[in-house]
């Protein structure tokens, strides 16, 4: 069972992702939430996280900077970008910075299962 961290400035989206993870039937144990990259780094320092789902477009510290910071700290936890920023260049930059995959909003639980099944 995996511990998952959801990083998104929208509390509604965090709830939707959390519900979708449960509905997708993935082996998820605890789900932790953070409102931006800074909060995400703080949670990572306190909890054992097996998978991160992160938005890109966030205040204070956006998703791209968050990935760079996580990798810069030597953490290899899988990071999946969940974003409306579906442009190829942004996805390429996220992957080059260390993201494992990306999922475009809107999504269904089945699509989450397909993307995340191999990561947890």
């Amino acid at each position: 069972m995996a511990n998952v961290l959801i990083v998104d400035d929208s509390s509604t989206m965090r709830k939707i992702i959390s519900r979708s993870l449960r509905q997708a039937g993935l082996a998820v144990d605890d789900i932790f939430e953070a409102g931006d990259g800074i909060e995400g780094l703080s949670v990572l320092g306190e909890k054992n996280i097996d998978l991160i789902l992160s938005d890109i477009n966030m205040p204070n510290m956006d998703g791209l900077e968050f990935i760079k910071q996580v990798r810069g700290n030597g953490n290899s936890v899988p990071i999946v970008m969940i974003t409306t920023e579906g442009g190829e260049d942004i996805i390429k930059e996220a992957l080059a910075s260390g993201a494992s995959a990306s999922i475009k909003k809107p999504f269904t639980p089945d699509q989450l299962n397909e993307k995340l099944g191999g990561l947890i």
Partner: protein
């Protein structure tokens, strides 16, 4: 009220094409994330700036194209939308409803950005802004450079508007 002529020339999209993108995006978001089927109507010929007992979620675009994508929704329908999104009963306008309308605007803005942008780096989306109240007026840019599409769900109507200019 039409799509800006420079935008039409640059994107090779007519007003009807842009309206179709707005319709497709809105229906996809509502069917996938909100579990609501929508009926769309012909784009409005005049803009709507004043809203009553409503809530508006907006996201700005800046870069090759600048503009605002907004969803304007009666509060009663916004409660239903938020309840469906969260899978729980929401009976008052507050943080959850504001967040939901902002997130819908964000997803619609992302869809439009993908239509307009070649690689995604030439247009930036703002953090969503949400306004609600018993009566409020929104004025932004030219009134003419705009596509406004009405949608209906079970006799309740809401609007999705897209104002665009080429920089």
């Amino acid at each position: 009220m039409t799509l800006n002529a420079v935008v039409e020339a640059s994107t090779h999209l007519k007003e009807a094409d842009m309206a179709r993108h707005v319709i497709d995006a809105t229906k996809e978001v509502f069917s996938t994330m909100i579990m609501m089927d929508l009926e769309d109507s012909f784009p409005l010929q005049e803009s709507v700036n004043t809203f009553h007992c409503s809530i508006s979620g907006m996201v700005g675009m800046a870069g090759t194209y600048t503009g605002i994508l907004a969803i304007h929704c009666p509060q009663s329908l916004a409660l239903k939308i938020t309840s469906n999104m969260l899978g729980m009963e929401v009976d008052e306008v507050g943080e959850d409803v504001n967040d939901a309308l902002g997130e819908i605007a964000n997803m619609l803005g992302g869809y439009v950005k993908m239509v307009l942008s070649k690689g995604g780096m030439d247009i930036n989306l703002s953090i969503p802004t949400v306004i609600s109240g018993e009566e409020y007026t929104i004025n932004a840019m030219s009134e003419s450079d705009c596509v406004v599409v009405p949608f209906t769900h079970e006799q309740e109507r809401f609007l999705v508007s897209l104002k665009l200019r080429k920089e």
